[in-house]
Amino acid sequence: MHPVLQASGLSMVFGGLRAVNSVDLCVRDGEIVALIGPNGAGKTTFFNCITGIYTPTEGQIRLCRPKTHGGGNDSGTVLNGFRPSRITKLGMARTFQNIRLFPNMTVLENVMIGMHCRTRAGILGALFRPPSVRAEEKLVIEKSYSYLEAVGLQSLYSERARNLPYGDQRRLEIARALAAEPFMLLLDEPAAGMNPQETIALQELIRTLRSQYNLTVLLIEHDMGLVMSLSDRIYVMEYGTKIAEGTPMEIGHNPRVIKAYLGEDFNA
């Protein structure tokens, strides 16, 4: 199938530390791919590289809009050097491991910010509020509300984001990312801090959202239950390097992965 996101030979060096070391990764249209590995393996750094928060030291990132989202036959755009806002506008949105909402804005406003890159009203529009701007504003409110519905937070729309419980904050981040109308969604440990019931609900939510919005999903997660049942394919990282890739089945039986997760002593 059509590759949507392709990273080749991606490296990120901090001083003497190679946090990401020549990683190749490819996500195809409509897939749910998981990126797993022990803490400090470089997963979040990898996300930061492909979303433009860091500029990778080496390697290339390529993003290609799929046909289901009106893309053409071209081989996509090379993202190296792009600022995060531009990458988001191209169609890849993310959530953060350590939640980064806009705490003093309302839940609805948080989602409305996600739609910023899909709307146009400028300063003069704000001052004179011509019909076009008013219509746009109305559309933004309606659509934002529908994204809240998609994650089940609509009843809290006028709360301040900071007052939300942890699990709701994670789902609000997902709604905000959806509002940027991406075809590629990156989730950094979406289930972190959730209880088992919430995790199962989240699993269902991710599946639903994928079919509802035709998404391609790349997610970092530690909850192996979620990873195994949700992913089409899994990449495993350790010390910045990719040590395995494959279907959940293959990964579950890969001796290197078992070693990385359970330690040297396990085999002895």
Partner: protein
């Protein structure tokens, strides 16, 4: 009781600390030491009392916060008034009427003071765009004020251009200065931005002070023209004061209107997102560079307008009006009133200008009182006199109904 113990300890501590200056006194004439023990007593009691009050208030604040977290937040009377749109509208209408008929009721002296306060309302609201809404701590705001004032001062002095032509031009020049400052500091945040803007403010003032051939240096520019009324110029001082009062009032109202519209727009939301979390807003597709520049430009534009007004009102400008103290004063209006809150900032500006004017009796202790109020505010009401209100967006009913029946809606509720 813990509080009482701590207060007594504080009292003793202060008595010991101030012992050398308050108790011991060398009598030079007699050549002997005088021990004024009663002073130590006063200090101890005074410090203990102050500390007691302080700690009690802190305790109460902490308690209230705990209650707030536990119980359903019952809005206070003050907040209820602030949320009732009908009351607000009536109140504002009465205020507006009062402001309109004010010249008929009071003397030129008062009119001038109020006009000054209104200029500061414009300045504080302008700074509020950068600091309160966008979270960019600008410490050299007086520089843009100076750019506006000198733009009009110089244009009038050398070219004879009038007030009405220079009002927009002064604003635009100041906005350009804001962009000029904004471009190199786009990547700076927080403390660094504060320091650079502080430096920019001082540099601007020093340039004005030392470029004597153009700006006439520390002596300043005098005899700047008052605004004309169509083709007539206003000779009478009282009449022209009233005229300028109405111009400032109009500009202040325009500023409130514009800032309010901006705040509740796509641009304003992006500013607030920038304030809340720069990385997150960039990652959500907000072009933070552009957003920052627009905040800088609009913020300094209002300073430019205010500068032109100030120059025409006082007819005399010199670099001393644009020191760091001026920037700090405007910033404290924003902070005191409530960062990001339009009516809070208006109130802050009016309070900071009018109170010292009408409390001349205490003028010796002005800075002391001012400092004490600011410290107390930061501790007990850091969100300002009138904290920003949240926009409750109206969700059309047909949207709500559609979702009422879904199972996901059912398990919500908080």
């Amino acid at each position: 009781m813990q509080i009482l113990k701590k207060a007594i300890l504080t009292g003793i501590w202060f008595a010991v600390l101030t012992f050398p200056i308050m108790v011991v006194k060398v009598d030079h004439i007699e050549g002997k030491m005088v021990w004024r023990w009663e002073n130590a007593g006063y200090i101890a009691i005074g410090a203990a009392l102050l500390s007691l009050v302080w700690r009690y208030l802190l305790e109460r604040k902490a308690m209230r916060r705990r209650q707030e977290e536990l119980a359903i937040r019952e809005p206070s009377l003050w907040n209820k008034i602030l949320r009732d749109p009908k009351l607000i509208r009536t109140g504002l209408l009465i205020l507006l009427l009062l402001m309109l008929i004010l010249p008929a009721l009071s003397s030129t002296y008062h009119i001038n003071i109020i006009a000054t306060a209104l200029i500061y309302v414009v300045l504080a609201l302008g700074l509020n765009i950068a600091v309160g809404l966008s979270g960019q701590l600008v410490l050299g705001y007086a520089a843009f004020y100076a750019v506006g004032a000198y733009a009009y001062g110089l244009a009038n002095h050398y070219l004879g251009i009038g007030f009405w032509a220079m009002l927009p031009v002064g604003g635009i020049i100041a906005a350009l200065a804001g962009i000029l400052l904004g471009l190199p500091v786009l990547r700076l945040r927080g403390d660094y931005l504060a320091i650079v803007t502080l430096g920019f403010g001082e540099i601007t003032r020093l340039i004005i002070q030392n470029w004597s051939s153009l700006t006439r240096g520390p002596g300043g520019i005098s005899g700047i023209a008052k605004p004309g009324f169509f083709n007539f110029s206003m000779a009478d001082v009282a009449v022209s004061s009233v005229y300028i009062y109405y111009i400032t009032l109009a500009l202040a109202i325009l500023t409130i209107f514009v800032v309010d519209r901006l705040k509740h727009s796509r641009v304003g939301r992006a500013w607030q997102a920038l304030r809340e979390d720069e990385i997150a807003s960039e990652a959500m597709g907000v072009d933070t560079m552009r957003t920052k520049l627009s905040a800088f430009a609009l913020s300094s534009m209002w300073a430019g307008f205010a500068g032109v007004l100030m120059a025409t009102k006082t007819t005399f400008i010199n670099p001393n009006s644009f020191t760091f103290m001026e920037s700090a004063l405007i910033l404290s209006m924003v902070v005191l009133g409530g960062m990001g809150s339009i009516w809070g900032v208006v109130l802050g500006a009016v309070a900071i200008i009018l109170l010292p004017e009408y409390l001349r009796a205490f003028s010796e202790y002005r800075m002391l009182i001012f400092g004490a109020i600011m410290v107390a505010m930061m501790v007990f009401r850091p969100q300002g006199l009138i904290p920003p209100q949240f926009r409750r967006y109206e969700i059309p009913d047909y949207l709500k109904k559609k979702s009422a029946g879904t199972p996901e809606g059912a398990k919500e509720g908080n």
